[in-house]
């Protein structure tokens, strides 16, 4: 068993305020001990379910060296973001422990430092995406903002072959209930507008009204849609949903 410092939580620490053993006063922190935990709710299917989702395929290769967490961009900002630990929990089936961190797994920024560093080709970045996906499919978390962004983006590419950034951003803000006119976005627009010639500003504005498209895209659209639907059904089956 690998020692996990983060498993020692306040609720596992017991301290007697007044305790005398064999005439020795061990009141207060002298009597602190860690209550042993008994885990009975192993999910034996956890690893195979995550391995069935795109990106999770190579999780079994992990030998827990920690290179992923050591190189992780998000870990440097938030120490609770710990890919090595989550891979350990998934492989040992400790679902309830994993669920304690369910709201931050989606924050992986796909910088690929972990994949670069991993000596076992686990592709930890993929495992993070698969885990975030699993959490959402199982209903443990609502769709993250990142998923909503990915969906908006992908829907537009599948529909037209291209994206128009302004439209993706507007739809994303609308779906996540955020005002589009954020202070800092307005400030940005103001700074560009200050220097942009009026005619060019008009041209860029007009371009935004005409949706860019790839010509003759409908057959690709149909083929991609069919493929994605098939894959989604396959994933739901692998996760024993329905």
């Amino acid at each position: 068993m690998i020692h996990e410092k983060s498993l020692i939580r306040p609720e596992n620490l017991k301290t007697h305020d007044k305790l005398v053993i064999d005439g020795v006063d061990v009141s207060g922190h002298w009597s602190t001990f860690i209550e042993s935990r008994v885990v009975t709710d192993y999910n034996e299917r956890l690893e195979e379910e995550i391995a069935a989702l795109p990106g999770g395929e190579h999780i079994h290769r992990c030998w827990q060296c920690g290179s992923c967490t050591n190189s992780c961009t998000v870990n440097a900002v938030n120490p609770d973001f710990n890919p090595r630990f989550w891979i350990y929990l998934i492989r040992t089936g400790m679902e309830s422990e994993l669920l304690r961190d369910k709201d931050i797994v989606w924050q992986c920024v796909s910088c690929h430092k972990c994949t670069y560093a991993c000596p076992r080709d686990v592709v930890p970045e993929g495992v993070m995406k698969a885990t975030a996906h699993w959490l959402e499919l199982k209903g443990h978390t609502p769709k993250s903002r990142s998923t909503i962004f990915d969906e908006e983006f992908t829907a537009q590419v599948v529909a037209t072959g291209k994206i128009e950034e302004g439209r993706v951003i507007r739809n994303f803000f609308a779906r996540t209930g955020q005002p589009l006119l954020q202070d800092w976005l307005v400030e940005m627009a103001r700074r560009v507008a200050r220097r942009l010639p009026v005619l060019q500003g008009l041209k860029l504005g007009l371009a935004a009204l005409f949706r860019p498209r790839t010509r003759g895209w409908s057959k690709a659209q149909a083929a991609i849609t069919e493929y994605v639907n098939e894959q989604e059904a396959k994933h739901r089956k692998a996760l024993h949903l329905e």
Partner: protein, 309 residues
């Protein structure tokens, strides 16, 4: 090096270069024209999938990139495709790798391509390069020096490459091949070109740090912190400007510089310019033709201050 096959390449600008990265598109074309390098835009191209589609389905992303490669190879007869955007470049390289090594991806791409009614791209038909390779290996520093009309002398530059240009290593088999090749841990192609144009490159430890571009809007607080690290490191290193070679990195740095100022009250002075804008200045192209006025950070003021515009 002066690779003849880089003199005329298929050009894949990608969606960002028609939107937020418009200035990168302009400056890339302007530099190409000034150096006599020819670009044939990929006909009727589509989005490569960027950083988003793979999270819905990786094989669809591979297909999207493969369609671009297929058109360049099979309909235009190109041997080399050049993508200035790190996201596009990364995805085309990734598709190349998947199609060469993964039967599942090959099968999915073959199936979707057939139904979409175009030839399936086969691994090895094309070489995908970045705008940096295009200039570095198509022209080279010595030839570039001969073509200069001015110099970036006195300009202190931090070269920022981001994530997608070097990671993960396995999709860039041509890198890390010793002298002359690009390094994935210490990339230097942009440093080399800008040094040839007279700039003073500062020692910048965050060359390949992440700007949080994938979550620039969905997790803005994290992105702002990551960008602020990069901006502060560049300033500490003494840079006047961060040179960029990716529209997502570039707009991420610019957006979160403003956001850090507005939301966290953290003001930074360093400016952002595409490396093609900097090279263009040294080649005597006007800042307007390079789209310097389209940037959010005021690069024009900096260039004037340094007597470059």
């Amino acid at each position: 090096m002066n690779k003849p096959e880089y003199q005329r390449v298929a050009y894949y600008p990608g969606c960002a270069l028609e939107g937020t990265g418009h200035a990168y598109n302009r400056s890339t074309q302007a530099v190409g024209a000034a150096l006599g390098l020819k670009l044939d835009e990929v006909k009727n191209w589509n989005c490569c999938g960027a950083m988003e589609v793979k999270n819905i389905d990786p094989a669809v992303q591979t297909y999207l990139s493969s369609r671009v490669l297929s058109i360049a190879a099979n309909e235009m007869g190109a041997k080399v495709v050049m993508a200035p955007c790190n996201g596009c470049y990364h995805n085309l390289k990734k598709a190349e790798h998947e199609l060469a090594h993964d039967a599942g991806s090959r099968e999915a791409v073959e199936r979707i391509s057939k139904k979409a009614g175009h030839a399936t791209y086969r691994a090895g038909q094309l070489e995908t390069i970045h705008a940096l390779d295009w200039i570095k290996d198509g022209i080279g520093e010595e030839e570039l020096k001969r073509r200069l009309k001015g110099s970036l002398k006195g300009l202190k530059v931090a070269n920022y490459y981001g994530c997608m240009y070097t990671r993960p290593r396995h999709i860039f088999p041509e890198k890390d091949r010793g002298p002359g090749s690009e390094s994935t841990s210490q990339p230097h192609f942009m440093d080399d070109l800008l040094a040839a144009a007279g700039a003073e490159n500062v020692e910048f430890p965050l060359k390949t740090a992440c700007c949080g571009g994938a979550h620039t809007l969905s997790d803005s607080d994290t992105s702002t912190r990551l960008v602020l690290n990069i901006l502060r490191a560049a300033e500490t290193a003494g840079a006047d400007v961060i040179a960029t070679e990716c529209p997502t990195c570039h707009s991420g740095l610019e957006m979160h510089q403003v956001r850090a100022e507005k939301v966290l009250g953290e003001k930074t002075q360093v400016r952002m310019l595409y490396f093609t804008q900097l090279l263009g200045i040294a080649l005597g192209v006007s800042p307007r033709r390079l789209g310097v006025h389209e940037n959010v950070s005021d690069g024009l003021a900096l260039l004037r201050e340094k007597g470059l515009a």
